[in-house]
């Protein structure tokens, strides 16, 4: 019964304080939300970079371009090599017509030029996706050696080199983002902690009075901590909603600009990360108010 009384007291005091001090509560939540938005934005950036790297790595392919003179027997032999190779995850035969259609879909401006050509200039090919473990440059080179003796092949191309350059560039950006992000996160946490501290210090007299009338520390700390937790949680949810809004607006502009590839690449925070942002708000609210009140109580003793 006594514990129920304490819980009821803490909840009631917190709700009454929040209700009666809407301006302070609003300002505190606003600052915390903005800071958490910065953290969420940073997490979303890192997550998008990771997703981009993952997708790019998965899409590394080896293109085996066939000569126009390739015979069905030669093609069968090439397919046999592909089927029996341990390197191959999957492969796809792209006929000349399909290759031309794909090209025109990607580059519609070339349609008139292509229409004037007597022959389809694009060769048929095999697009081979290697197993993830064979995505290194050496492995790709070894894979290509399999086709040294095969006839009917005009050229074998692979885009590993380009991707590796891209990935090392992205990694530099990622490293920079982590450093900037860490500074932003630290600043955000520092801001939130100070806002809580200011709010708690603004109620210094209240804490002193409660102590003098014989309130135990849980009666004094409880409402402050619960307020901190509720405000942190609310700010976490608001920051996510704001980020989602920003994500939707960005997607709208990307779709409008017809950059279809970018639509696929841009992802919102994963549910784990969303929970982490809200929990960060809750945790900062808890720690900030707990230490501020405890510090004040020690100061007043």
């Amino acid at each position: 019964m006594h514990y129920l009384n304490i819980i009821y007291f803490i909840v009631r005091e917190s709700v009454i304080y929040i209700w009666r001090n809407k301006t302070i509560t609003f300002l505190s939540i606003a600052v915390t939300s903005f800071s958490l938005f910065v953290i969420a934005f940073f997490l979303a950036t890192v997550e998008n970079i990771n997703v981009f790297i993952e997708r790019v790595t998965q899409e590394i392919s080896v293109n085996i371009f066939l000569a126009d003179t390739v015979t069905p027997v030669q093609r069968q032999y090439i397919e046999k090599l592909l089927k029996s190779s341990d390197y191959v995850h999957s492969y796809e035969y792209i006929a000349k017509d399909k290759a031309l259609n794909d090209f025109l879909r990607a580059m519609p401006n070339f349609e008139s030029i292509v229409a004037n050509l007597k022959e389809n200039p694009i060769p048929s090919s095999y697009r081979v996706i290697l197993k993830e473990k064979y995505n290194s440059e050496n492995a790709i080179k070894n894979f290509i050696k399999i086709f040294v003796e095969a006839e009917g092949i005009e050229e074998i191309q692979y885009d590993r080199q380009w991707f590796e350059k891209l990935i090392s560039f992205i990694n530099i950006i990622k490293f920079g983002a982590i450093i900037i992000g860490a500074v932003l996160v630290f600043t955000a946490l520092f801001t939130i902690a100070n806002v809580i501290r200011l709010v708690v210090y603004g109620r210094k007299d209240e804490i002193e009075i409660l102590r003098l009338v014989g309130a135990s520390s849980y009666y004094i700390k409880g409402p402050f901590i619960l307020e901190g937790v509720l405000q942190g949680m609310t700010a976490g949810v608001i920051s996510l909603l704001a980020l989602y809004g920003a994500y939707k607006i960005l997607m709208h502009y990307i779709i409008a600009s017809q950059a279809a590839g970018a639509v696929q690449l841009l992802v919102f925070l994963s549910s784990d990360m969303q929970i982490s942002v809200v929990l960060t708000g809750v945790l900062i609210g808890f720690i900030g108010s707990f230490f501020s009140v405890s510090h004040l109580l020690v100061e007043q003793q």
């Binding site: 009384n5 007299d205 209240e206 002193e208 009338v213 014989g214 135990s216 520390s217």
Partner: protein, 228 residues
């Protein structure tokens, strides 16, 4: 039965300011005491030492059988729940209503809501503020705030009542009324220690008079029926 006992107590503040100088005295259960003296005599410090708001620099203080210098931090709230204190600056919670300011003492004692309501209405009626239940302290006059502070100090019928200039903001008629409330709670067994420099009030009410001057107890006598 001794409720409060001072043994060679001294309190020195920063800057070598001597507030209480070698005080030794004892206050019995049911005593009605005035602590008087000029400004800066040490009246407020005397009360703060009893509440364990301050610790003595030297000597020992026993209150309700507990040595305050050795009282563990965790036991201070429990100790203070036996003492009602009327502060000179009221110390009311400005963000709470009058009802909540008074009820908080009962809330932290875990009293049921029904009883809380009953006792708060009763005490506010006694101090004439039953119509201000939903007001906030800044909306009240100094005298009314003083009465709220008195109601809060008396709500749980404490073993000891400490009051620091409780009538400082009140007119003479209201001062007498408040003193009557103190007297009535004293008749029910509460030991009252009231710091005031109002000599006329002391003469009218009577009781034990402890005179302080520059931190020293310079006189200790009783007035009955207006006479020493």
């Amino acid at each position: 039965m001794e409720m409060i006992k001072f043994f060679n107590v001294a309190k020195v503040y920063e800057g070598n300011n001597l507030a209480i100088d070698n005080a030794t005295l004892s206050i019995e259960k049911g005593d009605f005491c005035f602590v008087t003296g000029p400004s800066g005599a040490g009246k407020s410090t005397f009360l703060k030492l009893i509440l364990r708001q301050e610790l003595p620099t030297k000597g020992q203080i026993l209150v309700l059988g507990r040595n305050l210098s050795k009282l563990p931090m965790a036991q201070i709230p429990d100790f203070r729940r036996n003492i009602g204190f009327v502060f000179q600056d009221f110390k009311l919670l400005n963000r709470k209503t009058i009802y909540e300011n008074v009820a908080i003492v009962l809330q932290i004692l875990g009293t049921s809501f029904r009883e809380q309501r009953l006792h708060v209405f009763e005490i506010l009626r006694k101090v004439g503020l039953q119509h201000k239940l939903k007001s906030f302290p800044p909306m009240l006059s100094g005298g009314e705030q003083q009465r709220v502070a008195i109601a809060r100090a008396l709500i749980n019928k404490p073993a000891i009542l400490l009051a620091d200039e409780p009538t400082g903001n009140l007119d003479p008629d209201l001062s007498l009324e408040i003193m009557e409330i103190f007297k009535s709670i004293n008749r029910q067994g509460t030991t009252a220690v009231i710091a005031t420099h109002d000599k006329e009030l002391i003469r009218l009410i009577g009781g034990r008079i402890i005179c302080l001057d520059r931190g020293q107890i310079v006189d200790d006598y009783t007035i009955v029926g207006g006479k020493k």
